[in-house]
Symmetry: C2
Subunit: 330 residues, 2 copies
């Protein structure tokens, strides 16, 4: 009975009514009980599913939102995606996940696709500073930035309090008795990297009067970058005895470098932004600034759905607090 595509006209014919009536039944408009019964029966028999493409063309929007992230293999972003999906599903929306590999060109392509596909809105974890969302704005498509904010005013954003996180990470290391606390952060063009570093800097200044600039390294938020940066730090004349690492992947690399040098936490103090689910940072005696990735996703999706529903109030920036540093179960 299912077979090929069933159109609304076939349902109409079978029910003995017009296509308009079928549409009304499917969309909950006023229809006589009798017609409704007939249509539902016919639709059931024929296993009718409205053609979404046609509907979308007519309605000029779809119930799909795009989530654009820089790295699908980073657990932080998959957890975030999970959060977005949960919230979106609850609101009746589907999510399509777009992976840019930090490539602005791919990001741009996906934005075009989102537009051309009439997606209801876009949640963007920007690849870098220069993300161009002007096309979305021009077409009045809701956009929410997540994790990093876009340095363009008027756009909703959901982030964590990165500076506070950096501050408390560094202080927890100082408090534990470490004296030379280094910092491995991300690219200086990336907002989160900058803020996390500033938190560390603030803590250092409070302790030492002035910053420990020689203990600061900018890397690339990737495993290899973290490894290289840590190796470099360890090769200093006066190497650090602890470090704040600005993301999970670089921490994995840094840990490699430490192992190579025969060092391990908690002997060498390590505080990291964001967990790696199965790397058991905590069990290894590493301090973790808990990034609420899933909550970020849920909050972002929540904002977006409100915008889609027509809210056109002023742009909001939601800043989630990073959880307390956990000291590791061990």
């Amino acid at each position: 009975m299912a077979g090929a595509k069933v159109t609304i006209y076939q349902v109409a014919a079978r029910a003995g009514v017009s296509a308009a009536t079928v549409s009304r039944v499917m969309n909950g408009a006023r229809v006589s009980p009798e017609s409704e019964r007939l249509v539902r029966a016919a639709a059931e028999d024929l296993a009718f599913t409205p053609n979404r493409t046609a509907r979308r063309l007519r309605r000029q929007y779809s119930e799909v939102i795009a989530l654009i992230i820089p790295d699908i293999e980073n657990p932080f972003f998959t957890a975030l995606a999970r959060g977005v999906e949960n919230r979106a599903r609850a609101g009746g929306y589907s999510v399509v996940l777009c992976n840019t590999d930090d490539d602005p060109a791919r990001e741009s392509t996906y934005i075009d696709i989102a537009l051309a596909e009439h997606m209801a809105g876009v949640i963007l974890a920007p690849a870098d500073d220069g993300s161009d969302v002007s096309r979305l704005i021009a077409r009045q498509r809701p956009v929410v930035a997540v994790d990093r904010s876009l340095n363009r005013p008027g756009i909703d954003a959901v982030t964590v309090d990165n500076r506070a996180g950096g501050l408390s990470a560094a202080e927890s290391l100082f408090d534990a008795g470490f004296t030379r606390v280094a910092c491995i952060t991300g690219p200086s063009s990336v907002e989160t990297a900058q803020l996390r570093m500033e938190g560390w800097q603030q803590a250092s200044r409070k302790r030492h009067g002035r910053g420990d600039e020689e203990l600061l390294r900018y890397a690339d938020y990737r495993v290899d970058g973290g490894r290289a940066a840590m190796a470099e730090l360890l090769a200093l004349d006066e190497p650090p005895d602890a470090a704040v690492v600005a993301n999970n992947l670089m921490a994995a690399g840094a840990l490699d470098a430490l192992h190579d040098a025969g060092l391990t936490p908690p002997g060498f103090g390590l505080a990291v932004f964001g967990d790696l689910p199965y790397a058991s940072f905590e069990r290894q005696g590493i301090r973790v600034v808990d990034l609420p990735a899933r909550d970020l996703g849920e909050a972002a999706a929540g904002l977006l759905l409100e915008r889609i529903a027509g809210d056109d109030g002023p742009a909001r920036t939601v800043i989630l607090r990073t959880d307390q540093i956990s000291r590791g179960k061990k």
Copy 2:
């Protein structure tokens, strides 16, 4: 200039030709050089992007494929997704990722969406035995199963040689001198779980004449299940001194249980199917059966694209070999 939606008619008007001609230019049909120039200029000026929804409605297909996976937070599947995406992009297709959380109902919903959205094809990592792809078949949409095969004939599938992997995992432990090698596998309804277990069984029989059935545990492919199963095994009167664990997440759990009992690899032999990228199984002295997740994805996407292109030869099953067991760098 960009502003709201630009339609093909506006481009046509500006170029002084008909919409048909614009369409022909955009799709590479025969057009005079002069018209082509005019149209391209007009399209450029207006920043015209064809409305994909309209195109899709007319053409009855889109250049989007669906990838349906059971767990987006499992690195195995994200690596697989990466492979699919690479291959699909190369072929000019976009991928939308659908996460089912192992819920057959959600899987079913996504299959409906794929149909209703006229997606070009579906790559499915089945949640369990009962995945119902009949609707896709009925509508002649190409489907490729990946990781697990569907027990429905006539469907392309890409898997690894699970039995061989199980066999070599177990043998490598026996060869290393362990004598009581347990097996923690997945749900008995899941093909990969069954085959991996059979490989282990075969190795055990070869050594001991008959299987070590008391050392076999079925779990759920999740962290907690692995932890519980290992705890159970360790509580036996004659506990094992090694184990083959059928997936990465259960291994993380099993490792927890071992730690709780004061045991660690390589003292306790552990061989695992599939790495956890940042858990550094190998560095912990765990043997890893390398599952070529990305290759699986690429192969599956390759098959699917061939089908989409019209290949209607008999169904193929591609079995990738699991790589040699790596003994751990350390």
